[in-house]
Amino acid sequence: MIKVETAKKWLDLFIEQLLENKVYLSELDTAIGDGDHGNNMARGATALKEKLAEKEYDNLTDLLKDTGMVMVSKVGGASGPLYGSAFIEMAKAAKNDEQVALADLLQAGLDGIQKRGKAAQGEKTMVDEWIPVIEDVQNNQLTTEKVDEYVEKTKPIKATKGRASYLGERSIGHIDPGAASSGLLFKTMLKAGVADE
């Protein structure tokens, strides 16, 4: 069972990392998108920080749902509805099953992303980060190195979804910014110890 305190720690670390990597994420997005992914996520992170400071959470569902709502209403762009849907679907999964396993929780999040964005694996989006990560979580094999490896693996892919798809072949050789921000999500998840529970 995922404790709400641990999840809270996870989100705090994620917020911290998003703010720290604002320029880096926007630079990745400048290469193959419109250069705002870092700003978008940082805007969400700042709002989420405020939101989470407002009250004490005693259950995972509320924490994830509020996170999802902040993402949806503050991030904007493509990543806002995608991260928003992910957290809202995770909140639903936590509500349906208080004992939900981490892999199932994340799978619910991925389903939210794919339902909203209709991207399959191999289209050079954050989906390419979530799929292998969830597999590793299932097999208890996820490490920080692997998270980074999956981010790196978006490089050779030719984008066929999102703004990067306009570049066609020229999108090859660049990391997908959404995969990189999801990488931060999963590394902070490991750091917070969410996977150990």
Partner: protein, 329 residues
């Protein structure tokens, strides 16, 4: 970055406030949002809402008013607005007959507007939408997010706005919107990039003697770079691309929109218009409606775009010519 601004991250907030102050007889700002809503009386017509990232002024807030949009949602610069704000626009625009959304085809916009539609459904407001994808610079294949929505969007606002004002139902607007969008094609070029104030530096680099064909309104890459050339050659390239797409016949009727990207003076836009005129004259097209100016800009980009709308129904011309009360039409 040399700009008349204060805090770069407050640009959209301050801009919306400035606009609403300047035109307070016409529009109002919905509380705690960057939604610009018209003050015109409600008479039970279908609401018409558009919006998207900011930086395309006068789009979309400049087209809010009697005869065009009910409301425009202003996202952060070049960033789709969020569903909660779009929902507020929908709620304020609903006069009981539902609300029609005009969305430009970008992943972010489509997702955020669709989420807003889901939220509106839960509040029992009927919502339909059309996704504008007029930019022929992009290959229309399953390997891209599809064609982008650019300047032609403004003609969609105008036609649907007039139809809505006339009492068209949500279903009629949907049918009309789909038909207009499928008859609408645009293509642009850039001489210099836009600088997003929040980013602080130009969106791309281009030589002092280069132009790029097909650049998007957020600085998305185009299809070819060439040396700077006379306006007549630029016009020829864009007209040739449109001709390939439309496969027009002499005598076909079109609406023409020539659009400046923000930092290109009207002087150049009219010189270019003169060149387009000569080319389309040779094609013997009937240009039944024409408009030139800054309608869908890209902040301070230098460039121009050319839009043609094949007039499939003469009623469209009436809609294009119908009077409006807006800031910028």
């Amino acid at each position: 970055m040399k700009k008349i601004i204060n805090d770069p991250s407050a640009v959209v907030d301050e801009m919306v406030k400035g606009l609403v102050f300047a035109y307070d007889g016409l529009v109002e700002q919905l509380p705690d949002t960057n939604v610009v809503h018209r003050k015109a009386d409600k008479n039970g017509k279908v609401g018409l809402v558009s919006g998207g990232g900011s930086g395309h002024e006068p789009s979309h807030a400049g087209f809010v008013g009697k005869g065009m949009l009910s409301a425009a949602v202003c996202g952060e610069v070049f960033t789709s607005p969020t569903p909660d704000q779009i929902l507020e626009a929908i709620k304020a625009s609903d006069e009981g007959q539902g609300v029609f959304l005009v969305i430009k085809n970008y992943s972010g916009d489509v997702m955020n507007f669709e989420m807003a539609k889901d939220l509106a459904d839960m509040e029992d407001i009927k919502v339909e939408y059309v996704v504008v994808d007029d930019d022929i610079a992009v290959e229309d294949s399953t390997y891209t997010a599809g064609r982008r929505g650019i300047a032609g969007t403004v003609l969609v606002h105008k036609i649907l706005g007039a139809a809505a004002e006339e009492g068209a139902s949500l279903e009629e607007l949907k049918a009309l919107g789909d038909k207009v969008v499928s008859s609408l094609k645009s293509i642009g070029l850039a001489l210099s990039p836009a600088t997003n104030p929040e980013v602080g530096k130009p969106g791309f680099e281009i030589g002092a003697d280069e132009i790029e064909f097909g650049v998007g309104i957020h600085g998305e890459p185009g299809y070819r770079r060439e040396k700077l050339q006379p306006s007549a050659s630029l016009a020829e390239e864009l007209v040739t691309q449109l001709k390939k797409e439309f496969n027009w016949q002499s005598g076909d009727s079109f609406a023409l929109l020539i659009n400046g990207m923000g930092a290109t003076p009207l002087m150049e836009q009219f010189v270019f218009t003169n060149d387009v005129h000569h080319l389309l004259q040779k094609e013997e097209l009937d240009l039944a409606f024409k408009k030139v100016g800054d309608y869908m800009t890209s902040i301070d980009m230098e460039g121009i775009s050319l839009t043609l709308l094949k007039i499939a129904d003469s009623k469209w011309l009436d809609y294009l010519n119908a009077p409006v009360t807006t800031i910028a039409w």
